[in-house]
């Protein structure tokens, strides 16, 4: 986790420069920003919406939204914090708006697992993935966001607090509640 934070800090200067260049009209600078963050944003979005096709579309959409707002970005927060905020809000709106559809798709969205020698194992994996998808999607929006930012994106509580504009205490409480609920939802898989 610490390596990631260090890398992030090292990138911060480069990112600030790219933002500055974009604001001065250099369109190509935005492509570089996209390249730097596309993977992270895609992973975040995928874990938030739990559907590949939607995630592929929403990840691009996050950068489209960021593009339109970047000229007004006052750099009070870091670019990544700001970008994460855009992506998170986009996903929350999307899942809220499309909750019903998301749950229907859950039946179809179970990711195909690479076929192994053991079909039983494949089936178990498929069931586990489905259970996790369902458990995560069932979390209230804030708890789901905090859990994903913490567990998958490995961000510190302080950074999550900045992204969501909440106190660290609130973030910790949300995270604890999220784990508590996941523990309950996935109890059937725990021996």
């Amino acid at each position: 986790m610490s390596n990631k934070i260090e890398n992030q800090k090292m990138n911060e200067e480069i990112v600030r420069e790219l933002v500055r260049r974009f604001k001065h009209g250099e369109e190509k600078a935005y492509n570089e920003l996209v390249n730097l963050y596309k993977q992270r944003i895609f992973n975040l979005v995928l874990k938030m919406v739990r559907n590949r096709e939607d995630a592929m579309d929403l990840a691009q959409e996050a950068f489209v939204k960021a593009y339109h707002s970047l000229k007004d970005f006052r750099e009070e927060a870091s670019f990544s914090t700001w970008l994460y905020r855009i992506a998170v809000n986009l996903c929350l709106n999307f899942t809220q708006r499309d909750k019903f559809r998301s749950f229907i798709l859950l039946e179809e969205m179970t990711q195909p697992v690479l076929s192994s020698d053991s079909p039983l194992k494949d089936l178990e994996q498929k069931e586990l993935d489905k259970a996790i998808d369902q458990a995560v999607l069932n979390l209230p929006g804030k708890q789901r966001t905090v859990f994903i930012l913490r567990h998958y994106q490995e961000l510190p509580h302080s950074e999550i607090a900045k992204i969501l504009d909440k106190s660290e205490g609130t973030i910790k409480a949300n995270y604890f509640q999220a784990i508590k609920k996941l523990k309950k939802s996935l109890a059937g898989f725990i021996e």
Binding site: V34, Q60, V64, R97, Q125, H151, K172, I179, L182, K183
Partner: protein, 206 residues
């Protein structure tokens, strides 16, 4: 420290993100509390389970086309096209249908009111027979008494009753219809009959 206070720290304890002093407190509690040990084990198992989740990586083509895709969306102004369109269409259809129905009901009622309740000339185009009540005319128009009641309020009905008296007085005079008819010669009666035919026709086309 109570179990409740310890258990809220167990996730942080598992992630090794507690400050040293708190970590020591939790550790010493865990040594003597089997319930909290069990809780910690469940948390650990949950995280282990989450680690077993399948991962997904889009194919190379997606990443190659990522920036062109973003650029294309920027250019096309497709920034707000994520609302599921079929759902919008369905909602739009339902709303339109409801509007059409509401408007239909509204105009139908207005039309009925115009047909049956002209404020200036409530029934001037049709001379009532002696003793015939205005209400009855309207009942006949509306089809039955309850329909007429729905079309006219109590106030409207009172107004109509007053208008009826006024009309009786104007058309038939103090003596009423029979007295008035006696005073008419045959030609006048013929003319009156013709007028009535005309007004009936007028009523029908209205």
């Amino acid at each position: 420290m109570r179990c409740k206070n310890i258990q809220v720290k167990l996730v942080d304890y598992y992630e090794n993100s507690l400050p040293p002093e708190e970590k020591k407190l939790v550790q010493s509690h865990l040594e003597i509390c089997s319930s909290c040990q069990e809780e910690l084990q469940k948390i650990r198992s949950t995280f282990e389970l989450l680690k077993n989740e399948s991962s997904y990586e889009p194919d190379e083509a997606y990443w190659i086309n990522f920036i062109p895709g973003v650029r294309s969306k920027i250019e096309k102004g497709r920034g707000t096209t994520l609302v599921p369109i079929p759902k919008l269409k369905i909602i739009g259809g339902i709303v339109s249908l409801a509007l059409v129905l509401l408007l239909g009901i509204f105009f139908f009622k207005e039309d009925q009111k115009v047909m049956f309740k002209s404020s200036e000339e409530p029934y001037g185009y049709l001379l009532p027979a002696e003793g015939e009540k205005i209400d009855q005319l309207f009942y006949a128009e509306a089809g039955n008494e309850s329909s007429a009641s729905k079309l006219f309020s109590e106030t409207d009905r009172n107004k109509l009753a007053l208008a009826e008296i006024e009309l009786e007085k104007n058309n038939w005079g103090k003596g009423g219809k029979e007295e008035a008819l006696k005073k008419l010669d045959l030609k006048q009666l013929e003319n009156l009959k013709k007028d009535l035919e005309k007004t009936k026709f007028k009523k029908e086309i209205l």
